[in-house]
């Protein structure tokens, strides 16, 4: 496929929207994505709560780069490229910790936790022109945050993060309204797993409500067996139908009336009778702080939010922060966390984590079947010569404002933005 190859085909007259399956396995497509998406868009790095104190750090892969996400002695948040300027070895090899400096195991160059070079063994041999200031750990040109979510950008000319996030900001705000102080934290425990599929399949899957009834039938049984009302109206795909929403710059979300139980704050039998009063109290706090209408939005809607290109925040059975990075066209690495209000009691935190595992994660009652579906799709693309296209046409005869969550209008939002960037 060449520079001007086309993958996304939209036929408004026929209400058809097709994506060529080469978009999911071509090395050339991934090369273009790395260059134009992962080098130019705002990419999620981490959350303030993961590095609360000066000296706190953690190491992770961001957009294919080894990143040292840290808070320096002055409390400033940094995303240092975790690579020694001398010979390129990974400098900090621990998962997380607290340190005033980082020491390279190869030749012993030592860096302050703001990335500046502190010391070099045998510095005399470099002569008098040696300029320490040229040997800091590299930093991406841009690092900005919105409400404790930190993103980096390798493009110095990119629009600022707040502008980039566009309508997604309102949906982040809606999640954070769960907390009386507006603050939530990443909870201990990381789910890190591979999916043998193209990364864009997880974008689609995260907001695809058309698949739930079929792929997640055993989860629906689990809920129904537990006394949750999972009945549907004839012809409908879910107990309650919501919307697919466009948020600008390729961001999108589902926005659904809740039917499945939420730690904040819609009780279901799965939580146990003893939790009923506490969940009602959480709801009452929301109402007194936010008013009836906003409290209802916070407590009784489920939203799966995609921040273009590779961050998903699901606010459903619990809150997940999940991002994913392509390793090759047919393999992605997924990292998933739970997010909870900082004020939660021990009981509420335990309930949130229990609720998380009803659905999400590699041992949950639903996510493993998503993984199976994505891997089955990827396997099917081997037949692309005779079966070249994915169909993403549901609801195309209706305007965006009328798209259900079980339609595919919001998934087309992602693909239109992807087309703008990759097919330019």
């Amino acid at each position: 496929m060449g520079q001007h190859a086309r993958y996304v085909f939209e036929d408004a007259a026929a209400d058809r929207f097709l994506v060529h399956r080469a978009a999911f396995f071509s090395e050339e497509v991934l090369r273009l994505e790395q260059e134009r998406i992962f080098q130019k868009c705002w990419i999620y790095v981490g959350h303030s709560s993961e590095i609360r104190n000066p000296g706190d750090y953690l190491t992770r892969n961001v957009a294919g780069y080894p990143i040292l996400f840290s808070r320096d002695n002055d409390g400033k948040v940094r995303a240092l490229v975790n690579v020694c300027p001398h010979r390129g070895a990974i400098v900090c090899r621990e998962r997380s910790g607290n340190a005033r400096s980082f020491h390279c195991m190869y030749h012993g160059w030592t860096f302050n936790n703001d990335g500046t070079l502190r010391g070099v063994p045998g510095q005399d041999a470099y002569g008098p022109k040696f300029d320490k200031s040229r040997y800091s750990l590299p930093e991406p040109p841009r690092l900005e945050s919105y409400r404790d979510f930190w993103f980096l950008n390798f493009d110095p000319d990119a629009v600022d993060l707040h502008t980039y996030l566009a309508g997604a900001k309102d949906y982040i705000d809606l999640i954070l309204d769960q907390s009386p102080s507006g603050q939530m934290e990443i909870i201990s425990g990381t789910q890190e797993y591979d999916i043998r599929a193209n990364w864009k399949l997880l974008v689609e899957n995260s907001v695809d409500d058309y698949h739930i009834l079929i792929t997640h039938r055993t989860w629906i049984n689990y809920m129904a067996n537990s006394g949750v009302d999972m009945r549907r109206k004839p012809g409908e795909m879910l107990p309650k139908i919501g919307r697919g929403v466009e948020l600008g710059n390729g961001h999108l979300t589902t926005d659904n009336p809740n039917y499945r139980g939420r730690p904040v704050a819609a009780w279901i039998s799965v939580y146990g009778e003893e939790a009923k009063e506490d969940v009602a109290n959480i709801k009452a706090e929301l109402v007194s702080r936010l008013g009836e209408a906003r409290a209802e939005r916070v407590a009784n809607t489920n939203r799966n939010l995609v921040i273009f290109p590779n961050l998903v925040i699901n606010d459903g059975s619990s809150v997940t922060v999940r991002n994913f990075t392509p390793v090759s066209p047919t393999l992605m690495k997924v990292t998933s966390f739970a997010l909870g209000p900082v004020e939660e009691t021990a009981e509420q935190r335990a309930r949130r984590l229990h609720a998380f595992l009803t659905f999400y994660g590699p041992g949950g009652f639903a996510t493993p079947d998503d993984v199976a579906a994505l891997e089955a799709a990827q396997e099917g693309y081997s037949a692309h010569r005779i079966a070249p296209f994915n169909d993403i046409s549901r609801g195309m005869h209706k305007p965006m404002a009328d798209q259900f969550d079980t339609d595919e209008g919001h998934i087309r939002v992602f693909w239109r933005r992807w087309r703008e960037i990759v097919e330019a």
């Binding site: 998962r95 425990g189 789910q191 797993y193 049984n221 689990y222 590699p362 493993p368």
Partner: protein, 170 residues
Amino acid sequence: MNDPAHYDPANEALRREVEWLFYREAELLDAWKLDEWRALLTEDASYFVPPNDKPHGDHNNTLFIVADDHVRLHERIVRLKDPNCHSEYPPSRTRRFISNVRVTPASGNEWLARANFIVHRNRRNSDVRIFTGEYINRLVRLNGALKIHERRAILDAEELGAMGAVSFIL
């Protein structure tokens, strides 16, 4: 029996009984005889797979891979027997190797039984996925039989990574 640093022949009968229980579990799980396997556990049993980065964490304040109380464990078995459990249909072919069986007294009338495991999970059109780690189980004796009161499978890997999911009973 209280000092794991010294061999105590008096411990041998119990160790063999615990070993038999681990082997019996492995046999039933590999054969997908999940109801028979469930009968090796107490009614109120729980089952945990901690996250790779917090292998000794507490499920009440740490996000686990699996944290089933007896209610959810029952539902997990219902799910695994359902052909709509797509990640395990057709069921994976698994093979468990259990070794390094140790047993020490724990609090009350419980024993702490530990064993190393290697579990191979085979599926059509997929590479074999290998899970290695340690079981740390709490056992009690009910009506003469040792039963598993709490079952904890701790993975060695730094991340779940290529193992992908814990969609079967590990």
